[in-house]
């Protein structure tokens, strides 16, 4: 499906149900706001659902889907607005449980030291009394696990012995084991499941729906949700942007709503950076990001800004970390042009640094700031050894560092108080600027940015882009990962979309717009190398679906073999702003 075609066919305006915002359903969320610091996770979202329907909540990365699921299940209190489930507001997981809300969270939350049966029945007992005897529990556990997983799972096995898909099943089975379930929320629950398992899950979901349970699914897999759901609420930037009824539920409409045609219509004022030379400075050959993913071939030229994106947990962050030497690959080589103008291989952070590669992570808290040091120390800490004096004594040359500090602070326009203040006294955006200044101060040739603009305000972002442009004009190279697609427009001449741990598609110049990129992320474009879905626009919608399903089938089968889910999970977690619930 070409991008132009998609935009022409986009009928999102007409398909919105007229009355969806006025009539309250059995379960509704009204004008709910939820902030984490400066990040607005939910920004006035409305949501309506009724019993006996499967309702999908969809949207791009970080649009607040999971937050909405957490709000509905009482884990997160709302800052403003009204949540109502059968006339009551769930304020704690205990209350949500009593109201009949069962939630399967995105993170596979399982007690590793406890047995399967204990994990399945967590929270089902009263404080002192067991509502079921151990024997009853074991039999029920065996039954449901056989039903869902399709094989025998020893109920007494400790959870750490299980593979990730089975762990995921345990968390899902928990929700199905409750007898008072009225609302079932599944947040990305099928992410770790293969095609057959997903089918079994869907069968169960349909059974429950027919019994009158309201089911909400949050998922990235568009083809799946089109198949299963009766209705879909599309979210963008913490707001609901439209509700699609079953008859209008298809990829086209969903993606149209997700990107928001009217907003992407306005052209970015600045033109993308043009790469001036053809000299390759860094390349990766047959790089295997996940143990079972297809190898990646990648090149970046001198003076180029390459954008990298993908849906959360599709390997793009692992890829940039491998490029930066922070993480190890599962095969293949990465090479960089060294001082002698020759390609040399590197596979450690040390080598990467020696060859002028610098890495800035968007996860400041975990991979960036040193919270108990001052702003000054945070900026100059990697320079201590470079500027040290007196040989092995290694005295720190404060005079030289002072100059570097002043220069960088002025250049990046960092708003600091006294340089001796703790880094925590700065706003998130300025902290991020300090992190970038730290990298610039090392004069790298290649700067690798892992979602640097996360959680910083728009003006800081603009500043950042200006600096990146300048930096690239000086003949340096930037690899820029972002989950916010708008960031690429007018900045990157080339954007690489990752899917399932490998490069799915590459977009250049004019093709870079939010719609096409999003289609690429959801696997709806032609892709590179092999024609995955070719000449799709000529097919009727039903055959599109079939083809898509087949394609999904093969793709998802592949994912299941990847034993590397833990790592995927870790990287997922790294990417999220951590939400402390207690």
């Amino acid at each position: 499906m070409s991008a132009e075609k998609n935009i022409e066919d986009n009928t999102s305006k007409e398909v919105l149900s007229e009355n969806s915002k006025t009539v309250q359903g059995d379960i509704y969320v009204q004008d709910v706001h939820k902030y984490f610091g400066v990040t607005r996770a939910l920004n006035g979202v409305n949501f309506n659902a009724n019993f006996g329907e499967i309702h999908a909540i969809v949207g791009g990365n970080g649009c607040g889907k999971s937050t909405l699921a957490k709000v509905l299940s009482g884990v997160l209190p709302v800052d403003k607005g009204k949540v109502s489930v059968i006339g009551q507001t769930p304020t704690s997981p205990v209350m949500a449980r009593n109201l009949g809300i069962a939630t399967v969270f995105q993170e596979v939350m399982i007690a590793e030291e406890s047995s399967v049966v204990d994990n399945l029945f967590v929270g089902s007992d009263d404080f002192w009394y067991k509502n079921l005897t151990q024997r009853e529990k074991v039999l029920k556990a065996q039954e449901i696990m056989e039903d869902l997983v399709g094989e025998y799972v020893d109920p007494y096995t400790q959870a750490f012995n299980l593979s990730l898909p089975i762990k995921a099943w345990v968390t899902i089975a928990r929700a199905f084991l409750r007898d008072n379930t009225k609302v079932l929320i599944l947040d990305e629950s099928s992410a770790a499941l293969d095609f057959d398992s997903t089918e079994r899950l869907f069968k169960k979901m349909r059974e429950l729906r027919d019994k009158g349970v309201a089911i909400f699914i949050v998922t990235h897999r568009i083809a799946e949700l089109v198949r299963i759901s009766d209705k879909a609420t599309v979210m963008r930037d913490g707001k609901d942007v439209g509700v699609l009824e079953k008859k209008d539920l298809n990829e086209k409409n969903l993606i149209g709503l997700m990107t928001g045609r009217e907003e992407t219509g306005e052209k970015s004022t600045s033109a993308a950076m043009q790469t001036k030379t053809d000299k390759v400075v860094m390349r990766a050959e047959n790089l295997v990001v996940w143990p079972d993913s297809k190898p990646v071939n990648f090149e970046v030229k001198k003076g180029e800004i390459v954008g990298i994106t993908g849906l959360d947990g599709n390997g793009q962050d692992d890829f940039v970390k491998i490029l930066a030497g922070v993480q190890e690959s599962h095969g293949g080589t990465i090479e960089i042009l060294d001082i002698n103008e020759k390609f040399s291989k590197y596979n450690s952070l040390d080598d990467a640094k020696k060859n002028g590669i610098s890495f800035v992570s968007g996860d400041r808290k975990k991979e960036g700031i040193l919270p108990n040091l001052s702003i000054y120390e945070n900026l100059v800490v990697p320079l201590y050894s470079k500027t040290s004096k007196a040989g092995f004594l290694g005295f720190i040359n404060w005079m030289e560092l002072n100059g570097i500090y002043d220069w960088e602070v002025e250049r990046l326009n960092i708003k600091t108080g006294s340089s001796d203040n703790l880094i925590g006294s700065l706003s998130g955006g300025n902290q991020q600027k300090v992190m970038i200044a730290r990298s610039f101060a090392q004069h790298p040739k290649v700067l690798i940015l892992n979602d640097p603009a996360r959680g910083i305000d728009i003006s800081t972002k603009r500043d950042l882009y200006v600096h990146l442009r300048k930096y690239v004009e000086e003949g340096n190279t930037v690899v820029f990962l972002s989950s916010e697609l708008e960031e690429f427009i007018g900045l990157c001449p080339k954007v690489i979309v990752f899917r399932n741990g490998t490069i799915f598609d590459i977009f250049e110049k004019d093709k870079i717009n939010a719609d096409t990129l999003l289609e690429g992320m959801f696997g709806q474009t032609a892709g590179v190398g092999e024609t995955i879905i070719s000449s799709k626009s000529n097919l009727s919608s039903s055959s599109i679906k079939n083809k898509d399903e087949n394609n999904k089938k093969s793709e998802e089968r592949k994912i299941v073999k990847v034993i590397n889910f833990d790592e995927e999970n870790i990287s997922k977690n790294n990417n999220k702003i951590k939400i402390k619930t207690f």
């Binding site: 030291e113 404080f127 065996q142 007494y156």
Partner: protein, 355 residues
């Protein structure tokens, strides 16, 4: 088909994998036991077992108390438990001397009430002030150690007449032994309630427990209060053992208790532990000490004991590293079977060596 169904039901009716961690303490226990018997066979006489019970009772009960607190997770190990036992000891002795607490019931009520109050306070701070548990317990350790000296500056006073014979340890069936049996029964009853399940899950993954609707604060508070009861019983056994008030002796139970807890296979990270492990851990410590006494190190005795506790602890932790592997290999082997087979094996060894 029916046979298979039955087989499955049978297979699933025995829980054999959740306590595999006990294998290491069991192995160490029998190894030490045989060594101790070779060094000094008097261990298996009426008075030998009697004194073993008397000496290990306070430690076993301390370890029970610590088990509940460690089970609750957040890396919470109660450092204050030793000085707190000392506090009950010296305060009871002083109150007794002043004319209060004249009946055994009075002693028990006082000790248990103190245990509940202190642990409730401790748990409330951990739950609602959100200080790291280790800080709270360290503060408790220092505070009680100080208070004890204020209450009773130097060892002295005398335990009531009814309590003194408890600490003699000449017979197996003495009140201390009965007290320990009762405490163990209480422990086993608790492990069969739903509360124990909540505690285990909470210790192993607090987020999972919270989002599944477990009342985590309540579980933590109750776990601490149960620990308070065991700590109180432990303090009474300790008072019987020393027969007087002693402001300093109790303090060493903190480190001994934690050592026994770890030797018994409990996880300081939470979610794993039990009565059997606690008993084994405490007995192992006793046996190490017993063996070392037979070597007559004289003045170096306490130094060598501490050194050996440390060494055995490190060995036990190293052995636990291969535990996941052992668990996989011995999939169908129950720990009880392992216990008995180990026992038989070692006894045969002992018999052949003594021939």
């Amino acid at each position: 088909m029916e046979v298979i169904e039955k087989l499955k039901t049978y297979r699933s009716s025995v829980d054999i994998s959740s306590n595999k961690y006990l294998m290491v303490p069991i192995f160490i226990f029998f190894a030490l036991l045989i060594f101790a018997l070779i060094r000094s066979p008097i261990l298996v006489s009426q008075s030998g077992i009697g004194s073993a019970i008397m000496l290990t009772a306070p430690l076993i009960l301390t370890t029970y108390a610590l088990t509940f607190i460690a089970m609750a997770g957040r890396g919470g190990v109660d450092l204050s438990i030793g000085p707190f036992m000392g506090f009950i000891n010296v305060s009871s002795i002083q109150l007794y001397a002043a004319g209060y607490l004249q009946t055994p019931i009075g002693w028990f009520v006082y000790a248990i009430a103190m245990g509940l109050i202190w642990q409730l306070f401790y748990a409330l701070i951990v739950c609602f002030v959100r200080v790291s548990p280790i800080i709270v317990s360290l503060a408790g350790y220092l505070a009680f150690a100080g208070i004890n000296i204020v209450i009773l500056p130097r060892p002295g006073g005398i335990a009531p007449d009814w309590l003194l014979p408890w600490g003699e340890g000449f017979t197996i069936l003495n009140p201390i032994f009965l007290l320990m049996i009762l405490a163990t029964i209480l422990f086993y009853i608790i492990t069969h309630t739903a509360f124990w399940g909540h505690l285990k899950l909470m210790g192993s993954d607090e987020r999972a427990a919270f989002t599944s609707g477990v009342k985590i604060h309540l579980v933590r508070i109750v776990a601490h209060m149960i620990a308070g009861i065991f700590a109180a019983l432990s303090a009474i056994c300790f008072t019987a053992l020393v027969g007087s008030g002693d402001p300093l002796q109790g303090t060493k139970y903190t480190l001994l208790g934690i050592t026994a807890l770890v030797l018994g296979g409990a996880s300081l990270a939470g979610g794993r532990g039990g009565a059997f492990g606690a008993i084994l851990g405490a007995l192992n410590l006793y046996l190490i000490n017993y063996i070392l006494v037979t070597f007559r190190f004289e003045r170096l005795q306490s130094f060598v004991s501490d050194l050996s506790y440390g060494a055995v602890l490190v060995i036990a932790l190293l052995v636990s590293l291969i535990l996941p592997y052992v668990t996989r290999v011995t999939k169908g082997l129950s720990v009880m079977v392992f216990f008995h087979s180990n026992g038989i094996c070692w006894i045969v060894c002992y018999a052949t060596s003594s021939l």
